[in-house]
Symmetry: D2
């Protein structure tokens, strides 16, 4: 249940908090109070009278819901503002491969307008015998490369034990698709004060994704962005996954968190990344997460889907042009 108060807001919120102090889920946002374990009949008559609306049908992921939090969440980092109507570009190689390489790639990313540098130091690889990342050394190089270029860092954290370590280097945690329902990890980043980019699992419904985000929010961290990166379907010959473009406007209706499009993982082939990046922007994405590499044939991971620098600059230009058209409609 969500009570939307029209008057005596401060007073009534205090009373509701006091009344239901023994219940577990009591959330307050401005003039709205969400009470998950409370029956409507338990609300005092005068508080009912002070409410403009009592929403009884609320989703489980209540903090993620626009019913509870109607305004867009805007996430501000040192160099980026995500979700305020602009287009945030996040780019970089799949893996941090070496100090020299990430420095080079950061300069390219920056040139295309990216304000966030991506790069994996802990890599979730399908096979245990594949390259698993440079770990802390990789994080150091990534931080250095971002700092040199006046950029933020986004990098994946793969388990709760590494949250503290990764937090020393990153501006945004990335939770990978395979870990979308790694609830221990979600709880751990929920306790951190660093924004989280939560990737949709390959077979996750949008409700699953929002419920996963609620694990983070329940820990106290509402600096969340959601990433559409393609789902697993029968259509897996020409594209690695199926980019679910409609998920972006649907999520924008359901939740206040910004939605980022990851065309690289969605399609898995560099020559489809630019049309899909543009498609993601057209669907209303607040940002793009794109893999770049100057020598994809020799990349340590995911080479086939990386854009070479020249292609990346074109992609960035095209994405911005389409974004400008959409921005003018608002």
């Amino acid at each position: 249940m969500i009570i939307v108060l029209k008057e005596k807001v401060t007073e009534n919120i205090a009373r509701l908090q006091q009344l239901f102090a023994d219940r577990k889920q009591v959330f307050v946002h401005k003039n709205r109070v969400a009470l998950l374990a409370v029956e409507p009949s338990e609300i005092p008559a005068d508080i009912r009278a002070a409410a403009s609306e009592i929403i009884t049908k609320t989703p489980a992921a209540v903090q993620a819901s626009r019913l509870f939090h109607p305004e867009d969440t805007v996430i501000k980092t040192a160099h980026s503002v995500i979700g305020a109507g602009g287009l945030t570009l996040m780019a970089g190689p799949c893996s941090v491969e070496s100090r020299a390489h990430i420095l080079k790639m950061a300069a390219v990313a920056k040139k295309g307008g990216a304000t966030v540098l991506r790069g994996g130091a802990f890599k979730p690889r399908t096979s245990p015998y594949s390259f698993q990342g440079l770990e802390e050394e990789g994080l150091q190089y990534l931080r250095e490369a971002a700092d040199q270029n006046g950029m933020d860092v986004i990098t994946e954290v793969m388990d709760d034990e590494h949250v503290e370590l990764v937090a020393k280097y990153t501006d945004i945690f990335q939770i990978g698709a395979r870990n979308m329902q790694n609830f221990s990890l979600l709880k751990a980043v929920g306790k951190a004060q660093i924004p989280v980019a939560l990737k949709r699992g390959m077979s996750a419904t949008l409700d699953d994704l929002l419920n996963a985000s609620e694990y983070i929010a329940a820990g106290g961290n509402q600096q969340i962005m959601l990433v559409e990166r393609g789902i697993r379907t029968f259509a897996n010959k020409y594209t690695r996954n199926t980019f679910d473009a409609a998920a972006i406007p649907v999520l924008q209706q359901l939740t206040h968190y910004p939605v980022i499009a990851d065309p690289s993982h969605a399609v898995g082939h560099w020559d489809l990344v630019t049309p899909l990046a543009v498609t993601g922007v057209a669907a209303g994405a607040a940002g793009l997460l794109v893999e770049i590499h100057d020598d994809p044939e020799h990349a340590l991971s995911d080479g086939p889907q990386a854009l070479k620098p020249g292609k990346y600059l074109t992609m960035a230009q095209h994405a911005k042009e389409v974004h400008q058209v959409l921005a003018a409609w608002k």
Copy 2:
């Protein structure tokens, strides 16, 4: 196998046709000859010498392939040019409901810039007890409404027996998703001289779609456009189907036929049609097929996904603006 001739083109094509006159699949396009049931070793040495390239790995749907037909197919009807770089708008109600209604809807469609009027007279409904269409009467109204507004007609033909009847009224045959592999129907429209819009089946791979188109081409009709209208996946709560945006650029790589996006059937809810229409254009669609209705609550079919006139005009405007940005990149 496709032989790409660089010299003595006319002469060598004539020889190849004569040599393999007893084989079934011999196709010629400009300087290219496709020979499906022929071994490379059967090609005379001097013809090999006259070839710039012999492509041995050819897809089953060879006439659909860009390897055989590198240039874009452009389809011209009385009022539309489809596939030449413009954006063709096809709009109208799901069903022809009455003469008055289709006349009214045609005027709306026209106002938004549509050059093709859609409307179903034979309706493939999930239940046999649902409205099945006005049949020939509906075709007459549809033709009249298009003519009054200087538009083309697109309408669905559901079985081979009706091809002749529908041909009297329509400018473009529509083959529905459920009939994508109704091979008798495909063969029948393959013998007609009227363009065909072939909708992708709900579980059709892109190869399935191209092979289905080949049934039409094999009959002699190469005036084909392909329609992406969403596929069936687990993500079916908030959208009726999953719009496979990446299918559009992939198809554009594989085939020379123009690709049309149908956002209405892909999402199934009017409030998602506009973002998905824009998304389809951003993915590179040559046209849009959109359902409109002035009173969706009382529509005889598919009301929930129909745009009201005002929303339709906005959608059309937005689609054109995004299309202009893409057009400038070429």
Copy 3:
């Protein structure tokens, strides 16, 4: 709405039929009357009083529903009884390839206990350039081979124009997965007096399948069996489709029509056919539809999924043993 009468059955049915003679969907089965286009308030009070139950929430495919027709449908042909608790074996090659071949295969099928001979004379092939079947000549051979062995014939009919022709030779019409929603074809076999085996489409939900069956029933033909043959999912590397074993007990709950399992098309590889056939029986299938071939490498269609005679006899034996175990539980 379904009215279940406990008394004055004949009299009240007659009155209901008279009362709603102007409505379209009025169906009677024993003491049950289904009225699709009637409001509960339109039922006279005394008929309400004579009813033991009024079921207001009825599925669109009402004739297929157990709510309307609680007892199992049993289909009897010259040599088979389908749906009465036994296990009906239907076997034969994918295509009728020649007179000699189908005669040989029929003897094998019979030896394994099959009472129905399968074989395609009209083949729905993905590519127009693949073998399309022997057509009427194939039907003649198939009939002869079945008759020589005291068997029934099942064969696919691909369009409404061929229904009359195929009816001259077959005991059971097969509607292929690609044609499950070819409504013209469904209506045509609905008017015939020959049992129909309706295959589930690759992306058909169980409701879609039941609604498709309703097109046949609405025409007057209730001799319907449903065939589970695998659905299209992401799991398409080791098996052609995903056999949906649970569909069998679910369908048995929803409908009175017998359900047949087709393991050959579900898996697409002969070495998985036997375990899947046994699985289908364990799930409660009333019969099996299996492809056999003595020389699969040279089969004109679907060779990889055909069982050789020896493997087929083992499969048949195993299926019967598992069926006996299940039969003893009832």
Copy 4:
């Protein structure tokens, strides 16, 4: 590459190990040596001569492969032998709810022939606000209930930090579907000396599943069983997931690890659990993992899919009868 030695086995294995001591993946099983990072040309000629076969095309999950380990893996715990041709029954409630309840359920499980008691103490719930398990207290009750009945324990471990704790109480670790690619967790259980039941992720291909198992094997723990529990498809109205019965015989071909069927999660409704359990056995499962509850309406989790005691006893009886039929074929 896998080298299958026919002679001088001990000597040649020692030489290969010495030769490639600097490489990362060198695995030995009896007379087979798998060398992942070695080129065929690096193998000395005399070792080649001593080999009966050199398999160059090896899957990434080489230790899981039958090419490397042809014989079935048999897992022995105090009370169970899994994978030796018998049928191992694992039953219990979804969650450990209280000491009294798990004691009662253990007795029921035992009565049906289960040798392994299941019960969750750490619960991966879709919503953070749902019951999350009794944690260590639950593990204590579960251990006590199993010991009282002479049974083994299987219980889920959700993150690497809990591996040590859970190891104190369990005989088999369960890795849930959502954690199938939680690589930190897989590495952690790979270092333990306790068997692991790895559940297939909802969108995991069989290769994904085998690669996930390889993370465990790579740590030194080859006591692995794989669990088919249904995949996510469009067919999600009548069943929670789609039970992929064919996965069982396919996995048996690819790997030596035993495969367990979990019909409860596959279907999600108790009235389908028994037919699906029987189906899983018919497909060749080495065991069943089934949820039971005496009062499903009030279960703290997954009540709808729990079998009541009487239904469970019938299911167990049916499963054993079908298993006996299959066992006789070997």
